[in-house]
């Protein structure tokens, strides 16, 4: 398989380092869904890596492969110096407490029959040998940290809470294990905007307070920009562009990033609506286009795009693009 470039990797200093990750699913009649096709990225300690891309581009499959739920078809996932893909079951379980996940649908990711304090303590009673008393105190402290009143909520069940409150409970459940890395898979996509800001601010606070590292997956470009230190743009199982958020959003180099950004409706009635519109339909991941996977919808595509897969190239400090004809980004910094 053609490589997708690793110019953007930062070496052994990374807390999480993913290389050549491949995730495939059987699709019947001996066909295969190419969900994630050889992507590489890394996350430094204390960093928030944002991952954007439209539904089906492989964001969740990537997240689950990092957690080894299930393990990827191939590729390497090094977390905190350990090769996750080669851990024994027992060691994997231990590693997973240091790597937690938060999901889009907070209500359904909580056990409806359990009380809030049991849900939050769930990981504790399995992994630690704390006495009950200490465990309860930790649960209370964590509920408070996520903005819930422990006495008022501990004995209630998930259905008595709004989705925003349930997401707070999920965050408490993840945080109580004192993880180093949290993978947030669309954590605010199901929430109303007024509550979304509460949860985004909470995640930012928790990150500072506990020195967390985050992988933040979302399809909302403004949300990803707001929380990220570095952003990865995905399309159909591949990475198109990696950059610092402020740079990415002002100097997008990949034609797909351009279209994504032009599609975001701006909350200002005086802003003209850009003419730029994506054409055609998303190709099937069972039979993805040769060469550049975006070529079937790209206005800049030339013959080479069908033959040769573009790999991620550095175009300025902290800005990488996988395209044969990237946009001239006006403030091109000499490398």
């Amino acid at each position: 398989m053609a490589g997708c470039g690793k110019a953007h990797l930062r070496g052994s200093t990374a807390l999480l380092s993913v290389e050549d990750l491949v995730v495939e699913f059987p699709a019947g009649r001996r066909t295969t869904i190419h969900a994630v096709s050889g992507i590489s990225f890394d996350v430094l300690e204390g960093e928030t890596l944002g991952v954007v891309g439209e539904s089906g581009c492989g964001k969740s499959a990537t997240a689950r492969a990092i957690m080894q739920l299930p393990p990827p078809n191939s590729g390497s996932v090094i977390f905190d110096g350990e090769q996750m893909t080669q851990l024994s079951k027992e060691n994997l379980r231990r590693s997973r407490t240091r790597m937690q996940m938060i999901f889009q649908d907070p209500i359904s990711s909580l056990n409806p029959r359990r009380k809030v304090n049991e849900i939050v303590a769930e990981g504790l009673s399995i992994w630690h040998t704390d006495s009950d008393d200490i465990a309860i105190r930790r649960v209370h402290a964590m509920l408070e940290a996520v903005g819930l009143d422990p006495k008022a909520v501990e004995n209630r069940r998930p259905h008595q809470f709004s989705s925003g409150q349930c997401q707070r409970i999920c965050i408490a459940r993840a945080m109580i294990l004192d993880p180093k890395l949290i993978i947030c898979d669309e954590p605010v996509s199901a929430l109303d905007v007024s509550v979304q800001a509460q949860i985004l601010n909470l995640l930012t606070n928790m990150k500072k307070r506990y020195g967390l590292t985050l992988v933040f997956i979302a399809h909302d470009l403004a949300v990803v920009k707001n929380v990220s230190d570095r952003v990865v743009v995905m399309y159909l199982g591949k990475i198109c562009e990696v950059a610092d958020p402020d740079r990415l959003y002002t100097h997008a180099a990949h034609p797909y990033t351009d279209i994504l950004l032009a599609s975001v409706p701006k909350p200002d009635p005086h802003m003209p609506i850009p003419k730029l519109q994506i054409t055609g339909e998303l190709p099937s991941p069972i039979n993805p286009p040769s060469g550049c996977r975006f070529r079937t919808r790209c206005t800049k595509a030339q013959d080479v795009c069908a033959v040769q897969e573009p790999s991620l190239q550095k175009i300025s400090s902290n800005h990488f693009v996988a395209c044969h004809f990237p946009n001239e980004t006006s403030t091109h910094v000499a490398i």
């Binding site: 439209e54 539904s55 903005g147 709004s162 925003g164 409150q165 109303d192 905007v193 007024s194 509550v195 979304q196 800001a197 509460q198 985004l200 601010n201 909470l202 930012t204 606070n205 399809h219 909302d220 470009l221 403004a222 949300v223 920009k225 707001n226 929380v227 990220s228 230190d229 610092d244 958020p245 402020d246 959003y249 279209i259 994504l260 950004l261 032009a262 599609s263 975001v264 409706p265 701006k266 909350p267 200002d268 009635p269 005086h270 802003m271 609506i273 519109q277 994506i278 339909e281 998303l282």
Partner: protein
């Protein structure tokens, strides 16, 4: 504009539901009007009553719904709130049509696309089968469906979400309705597909001179795609104005707070978001005073005891329902009082209101 009869006039619409835990006032006194060819955007968070509002206008409510006797819905001058079901049925499609967030709400999963489009054409236009197919192909071309002939024989699950939404738009437009109600038509779609669908709706609307009620919770969508906005919260319209006026002058504290809480793509990474504290109220409880008071940073005693109605503002055609509208001297005063004590009359700590 003034003297003309509006296409749609909704007066004091109240739609209540009988539920096991009591009467739920889903829409509680909403009025607005809409001119021919105009687009009004209805924004508000989930549960604020947006869908019930338009379902009441369409007359497609569930059987536990009660519309108050005093509520009126006039369409082209005719009161349509008390049409019998069979009369209403002909009204749908020919006068007004609706599309939903989930296209599968209106598509039948086990019927071919072609059958579904032609059925509606044959019902309303009394067309022959052949004419109906011709019309269906024409409509599918109009809404940008590639290879329409092939699609006629396909089932909904064989199409992408964006294509399915195009099909429901084609069905909705079959009889040139004068009003299209779009209830979160793009909420489930990706942002690039959303843009395609919104561009499509805008071009069709211009071509067909069709008015539209566009429901969304995305302030970006209303900003670019509507002429008027109504902001709903807990069953009430809290503010309504011309879109440009509203974005220039957000008078209601809820509108202001909603706007400030959204992350914006133009802002720098890591800009602090001003979240709104708390959650919307339980609508089966009796709500005294202003419904936003528990979450409002300006709330005073008056807000807890007295319900504000829609007041005129000093801009033409702009109403808002707050005793202490943003930008007014009363608001400055209220703000100063709350700042001093650090807590609002409803007990909201102001530090919390600003942070998380």
């Amino acid at each position: 504009m003034q003297a003309k009869q509006p296409l749609l006039k909704v007066e004091d619409l109240r739609t209540y539901f009988g539920t096991p835990t009591g009467i739920l006032k889903a829409v509680d006194g909403v009025s607005f009007s809409l001119n021919k060819g105009e687009t009004i955007g209805i924004v508000g968070e989930s549960g604020s009553g947006k869908s019930v509002l338009v379902r009441s206008i369409m007359n497609i409510l569930s059987s536990n719904a009660i519309i108050a006797e005093t509520s009126k819905v006039h369409f082209n001058g005719k009161d349509i709130s008390r049409l019998r079901h069979c009369e209403a049925k002909h009204f749908w499609g020919t006068q007004m049509a609706m599309i939903f967030q989930d296209p599968m709400t209106s598509l039948n999963p086990v019927k071919k696309i072609g059958t579904q489009i032609t059925e509606s054409i044959r019902f309303h236009l009394k067309a022959s089968k052949k004419e109906a197919i011709q019309k269906a192909l024409e409509l599918m071309g109009q809404v940008g469906i590639p290879e329409p002939r092939k699609r006629l024989k396909q089932y909904p699950h064989q199409l992408s979400g964006g294509m399915r939404q195009r099909i429901t738009i084609a069905i909705a437009l079959a009889c040139n309705p004068k009003l299209l109600i779009a209830d979160e038509p793009t909420t489930a779609l990706d942002v690039t597909v959303q843009k395609q669908i919104l561009d499509l709706l805008a071009s069709l609307q211009e071509k067909l001179e069709m008015a539209m009620i566009l429901i969304t919770h995305d302030l970006g969508v209303v900003a670019g795609r509507t002429q008027r906005i109504g902001v709903m919260y807990a069953g009430k319209m809290l503010e309504t104005a011309d879109t440009k006026t509203l974005f220039r002058n957000m008078n209601h504290p809820y509108t202001e707070a909603l706007f400030k809480s959204i992350p914006r793509i133009e802002n720098q990474a890591h800009s602090r978001l001003e979240a709104i504290s708390g959650y919307p109220p339980d609508m089966t409880r009796a709500l005294l005073g202003c419904r936003f008071a528990p979450r409002c940073r300006y709330a005073q005693d008056q807000c807890l005891n007295e319900e504000p109605n829609l007041f005129e503002t000093d801009q033409a055609d702009h109403q808002q329902a707050c005793f202490f509208p943003v930008g007014s001297p009363e608001n400055k005063q209220a703000h100063a009082v709350n700042q001093k004590t650090g807590i609002t009359a409803a007990g909201l700590a102001l530090t919390a209101a600003v942070r998380s």
